[in-house]
């Protein structure tokens, strides 16, 4: 007993502590930092408030959506529909403003509601109909996209009041609002995951659904809630994207789900559930964003860009794992 405690002071066994998540984040963060430094040295324009704010602004919707995706992944689920749902919410939200003349805040709220609604369908399909999350959300991927085209007749929607641009293009002080949104969502997400029943149960259900059920957790209700949240955040992401370009785009968000999932997984989430954190996902999302930004700043040929992005993802994640292994052996 005693020796065990002393060894803990030595900080041993960190790998297997919840701390390991933190390490894994540090590692990913390490990659982030390396790339950051590299770009600062190689590109004169990289380390300018303008550029960094730009990156933050352009990544906002991915980050917001990725945080919702993380929550789902923690429960050993997956949400493939975020891209389509974001498009649906963005378009419908915009339409309520343009066509129904709702005030902007209501329209934004409406968009988020649409996302939550889609999420609710996903959740019920998983918990009540008992579909596996991949199938449920794959179906929604297709259904939501179809609805977008039906509602818009495949035409982009313009004619938004300028006030709508605030969400995506406004600033508070010198800080772009999308970045503030990121910060707020991230902080809330962090607290939900680490301090609330919902978060705790998400980890528990992802780690062992049956044990959670037998521990009296109303797993269906909480699982459904998780998908609703993911949908709502997809909705928010969709509204941010629409506001960025002050229009509703039926083609928005194709393939966005892969970005979201990648961000979560690079950030240390496991598709088998029970693992994942907001900080990790933030790092993962910005890792991807910086690579893309850097590729353009350094005027890398678009074709080589894709190769480089792929390779860096490999290296970053590998490095993460490598550092964890070393940390394990060195204790």
């Amino acid at each position: 007993m005693s020796d065990a405690t002393t060894t803990e002071e030595r900080g041993g066994g960190i790998l297997r502590e919840r701390l390991s998540d933190f390490i894994s984040q540090l590692a990913a963060a390490g990659a982030l930092i390396v790339i950051f430094v590299f770009l600062s040295l190689t590109s004169a324009q990289f380390l300018t408030a303008d550029n960094l704010f730009n990156v933050g602004t352009q990544t906002a919707y991915t980050v917001v959506i990725a945080i919702g995706e993380t929550l789902v992944i923690i429960t050993a689920g997956i949400d493939l529909s975020v891209g389509s749902v974001a498009a649906l919410s963005g378009v419908l939200g915009v339409m309520t403003i343009v066509n129904l003349g709702l005030p902007v805040p209501l329209g934004i709220f409406g968009g988020i509601l649409v996302g939550a609604g889609a999420g609710l369908v996903n959740g019920l399909l998983v918990t009540v109909a008992g579909l596996n999350p991949f199938i449920a959300t794959l179906g929604m991927l297709s259904v939501a996209r179809g609805l977008v085209f039906i509602f818009t007749n495949a035409q982009s929607i313009f004619g938004l009041p300028n006030s709508f641009m605030l969400l995506g293009q406004g600033e508070i002080g010198a800080v772009p609002i999308p970045i503030i949104v990121i910060i707020v969502v991230a902080i809330i997400g962090y607290f939900v995951l680490s301090r609330t029943r919902l978060g705790r149960y998400a980890y528990a259900m992802g780690s062992n659904l049956e044990a959670s059920r037998l521990s009296g957790i109303p797993t269906r209700r909480y699982l459904t809630a998780v998908y609703v949240i993911s949908g709502a955040l997809a909705g928010l992401g969709g509204m941010i994207a629409s506001s960025l370009i002050n229009s509703g785009q039926p083609n928005f968000g194709l393939g966005l789900e892969l970005d979201a999932i990648a961000a979560a997984v690079i950030g240390g989430a496991s598709l088998f559930g029970g693992q994942g954190t907001v900080v990790g996902t933030l790092i993962g999302a910005f890792l991807i964003a910086l690579i893309r930004n850097g590729a353009v700043l350094l005027n890398v040929n678009t074709f080589y860009q894709q190769v480089i992005i792929g390779v860096i993802i490999w290296v970053a994640v590998f490095w993460d794992q490598y550092r964890r292994r070393k940390l394990e052996s060195s204790s």
Partner: protein
């Protein structure tokens, strides 16, 4: 032994000539989900409405890159034995064989917007000459920038697709002729407004002294314009590009975009169906011929011309029926 497969001919086909027989005409765009193609659809509907019992079936893949998908779609229509197929080829060479199959089944086949290579002589092409149009726009840009020239960025939308290739080709032709123009960045918008915005912002960051942007389709133009405005460089960076979504026209009004190439998608759809019906109803007497629907570079100045207006807001009441020939 193994031999290359010929979809068995026979079956119902364009045989149903004569004046009154009801006609099913399939109209297949490159992809659904863009204003441009929606306008084509309106043109097609309009033409159909002007004839008795002609029904238009509008169907397309969701990604311009989905060549196999479009082929499958067209083959499905061929097996159905529709009377005519009016389509825009997502890939010139790959779609050639499909036209052949259709003809073999006696289905009247017409290309709109993009044809095939080789273009079967029985298959007319009703389209803009993309290369020529691109050259026109780029020359306008060169003229505007004057002899001191400057840095130019290219925002293409989907490398490897026919339209992208031709529009870039025309652009590059003119760039070659004007050494004072320096192509400093080439980025792809993946036909996504937000992506266009992102890459253009980054380009502007790395080339603060950028003088002009050539954007090869609707989302690319919109994104480029948004980025320029965002960077507070409105009017300082000259933007020319393609298509006439209402958002783009607004940007032209505001002087954010110098000029956009307006094709005549309405006319493509309209003529496409119209020609098909004529051919089907009048039979062999009628010979189909290709039509260049032309492309106009719309600048702030000529927004109010009625001709332009009918081009921008085409409707069955005043169809923009003039063509490049006229």
């Amino acid at each position: 032994g193994a031999k290359v497969r010929q979809s068995s001919s026979g079956g119902k086909g364009g045989g149903s000539t004569g004046n009154s027989g009801s006609l099913r005409i399939a109209v297949v765009p490159k992809a659904i989900g863009f204003d441009y193609w929606a306008t084509v659809q309106n043109g097609a509907k309009c033409a159909a409405s002007e004839h008795k019992n002609v029904s238009v079936e509008w169907k397309g893949v969701t990604q311009e890159t989905d060549v196999n998908g479009q082929i499958q779609l067209l083959q499905d229509f061929i097996t159905q034995g529709v009377d005519a197929i009016v389509y825009a080829a997502t890939d010139a060479k790959a779609l050639h064989q499909v036209s052949q199959q259709a003809l073999k089944k006696g289905i009247v086949t017409i290309n709109i917007d993009s044809g095939t290579t080789p273009q079967p002589k029985q298959v007319p092409l009703i389209a803009t000459n993309n290369v020529a149009a691109a050259e026109k726009a780029t020359e306008y840009m060169a003229k505007k920038l004057g002899k001191k020239g400057g840095k130019v960025a290219l925002i293409e939308f989907q490398p490897g697709t026919e339209t992208n290739t031709t529009r870039v080709k025309g652009f590059k032709n003119v760039m070659k002729k004007n050494p004072q123009l320096k192509l400093v960045a080439k980025q792809s918008s993946q036909s996504d407004y937000n992506t266009a915005l992102r890459v253009t912002s980054d380009v502007l960051t790395s080339h603060p002294d950028l003088s002009a942007i050539y954007a090869a389709n609707e989302p690319s133009v919109l994104g480029a314009a948004a980025a320029v405005q965002r960077a507070g460089k409105a009017g300082k960076v000259l933007i020319v590009g393609w298509d006439t979504a209402s958002g783009e026209i607004k940007d032209v009004k505001q002087g954010l975009v110098a000029g956009v190439l307006a094709q005549n998608p309405f006319l493509m759809g309209y003529k496409g169906v119209n020609e098909a019906v004529k051919k089907l109803r009048t039979g062999d007497k009628y010979t189909l011929k290709s039509i260049d629907t032309g492309a106009v570079l719309i600048t702030k100045g000529d927004l109010n011309q009625s001709k332009i207006q009918s081009l921008l807001n085409p409707s069955c009441k005043n169809p923009p029926t003039w063509t490049a020939q006229q």
